[in-house]
């Protein structure tokens, strides 16, 4: 209990000083705004539906991109994991794509798909596929060989083998990769919106900044922070602490 209270001290202090400072005229309103205005702007954004809509649009792109990455990553990961030959031959070509920062592909996806959901989901998918792929390959390689022999002995077809033996055996580790991918999906979606895609919370913040509505911008920023934190907390609760104190940033 004491730790929760201590942890709350800093945020409360910051907001209190922020409010006091702007009311006293020490902090310029056009850059800093003030907490009370931010809360009002948030309430207004919620009631007129703009913030829920923007949230949904961002979440949608993140989800679609994540789903694509999950399916592709697991499928390719399983195949590469099961076949050392394929991993050696095809693997390096795939790996050559990994160092490309996903955001650099934004203009390309814009070229291919134009503005909207598809381009954003495509960039998210590219960014998210790597943690899933890497983890899946490692997980599949680590499956007890006996289990694979059992699958062979039972003469299971590939889809059945996948469903009944491979995936359940590798699931634990794959889930870790999926977790990282989920966190990345939100980050990348917002980034694409800020840089060029006119939809979602990222775009909402840019618009608010450009139309001199700093309170609305901060409201969306803090809301985004809360979403990210909430998502992380949910994932931690469901799947345990991720062993990276440095956070699910870019997969190393």
């Amino acid at each position: 209990m004491k730790r929760i209270l201590r942890g709350a001290v800093l945020p409360v202090l910051v907001f209190a000083l922020w409010e006091a400072g702007s009311r006293a005229g020490l902090l310029p309103m056009d850059t800093f705004s003030r907490p009370s205005d931010i809360v009002l702007a948030f309430a207004a954004g919620v009631s007129d539906g703009s913030i829920p809509l923007a949230t949904w649009l961002t979440a949608q792109a993140a989800l679609v991109g994540f789903a694509i990455a999950a399916v592709a990553g697991i499928l390719v990961g399983v195949i590469l994991g099961l076949s050392p030959f394929l991993e050696r031959t095809v693997g390096p070509s795939i790996e050559a794509l990994r160092p490309v920062p996903a955001i650099a592909l934004t203009p390309l996806t814009l070229l291919l798909f134009g503005f909207g959901l598809r381009m954003e989901a495509a960039v998210v998918a590219f960014a998210c596929v790597w943690p899933v792929l890497i983890v899946t390959v490692a997980a599949v390689r680590g499956i007890e060989p006996r289990l694979l022999e059992v699958a062979q002995a039972l003469e299971l077809a590939f889809p059945a083998r996948l469903r009944k033996i491979i995936l359940p055996a590798a699931l634990g580790r794959i889930v870790v990769g999926l977790r990282v991918a989920v966190s990345i999906s939100l980050i990348v979606a917002v980034t694409v919106e800020i840089v060029m895609n006119p939809r979602g919370l990222g775009y909402g913040m840019i618009i608010a900044q450009q139309s001199l509505q700093p309170a609305l911008m901060y409201a969306q920023l803090l809301w985004l922070g809360l979403l990210g934190w909430g998502l992380n907390a949910l994932l931690t609760r469901a799947f345990g602490q991720w062993h990276g104190a440095f956070g699910p940033g870019v997969s190393p």
Binding site: R6, G7, A8, V9, L10, P11, D30, T31, R88, T89, V90, G91, P92, S93, A96, L97, P99, V100, P101, A102, I103, A104, L105, T106, P107, L108, L110, L111, L112, S183, L186, I187, V188, V190, T191, I194, V195, M196, G202, M205, I206, A208, Q209, P214, M217, Y218, L221, L224, G225, G228, W229, L231, N232, A245, F246, G247, P248, G249, V250, P252
Partner: protein, 252 residues
Amino acid sequence: MKRLPWLGAALFAAGLLVLWQVLADRQFISQVFFPSPSRTLSELYRQLASGQLWKPLEATAFRMFYGWALASLAGVVLGAAIGFSRTARDYLEPTLEFMRPLPASAVIPAAILFFGLSNSMTVAVIAFGAVWPVLLASVHGFASVERQLMEVAAALRLSRAQLFLKIAAPSALPDILAGARVSLAIALILAVVTEMQASQTGLGQNILLAQRSFRSPELYAGVVTLGIMGFAINQAIVVLERRLLRWRGSHE
């Protein structure tokens, strides 16, 4: 007959490129969206030969390293201070946990508000984004210095400076380096993002301009360049890690 291990991979990659080339030349795929490898490569060569590549490459690299260096310094220093003190961690950790999943690019609108579309904006955003992995890694590293080593330090009566330099810092180094690696990747991404946003000279802007004028070989060349850059810096850190953490390989 001994088979070279990389031959299969090289053949496969070459095969893919040849296929792409043929499809593009025969107009089976649109050269607007998927320029043939030969055009991309010749564009890349042209940029290199004419020296056109260096300025944007330098600009992006400098921005990235500068922001990353600031972030790393701040991260290690703050990480040490926080990591060592249980009370500091109690007060600060919740706030740090909140900041961790926040997309660094989300602060771009706020940064534009404060700094305009300037160099300070880019450095601020890059440093802000890059600080979290290295900060959190440092906190973890300094907080988990082996307790018995602290007792050894007490028994030898090491001064605080000696304790930090000879025991705490080397102990935290593996964590710090891992965090720095992630930080650098984030710095690259943010450098590209901020360039695109603020229309500043750099590889990111090159790609954006190429997209706007539908010059796809230039676009692809830019992506390839960024990919190579990402790969090179990751390898550099891996090499650094291997040198500095030589002693780890010997742990049984």
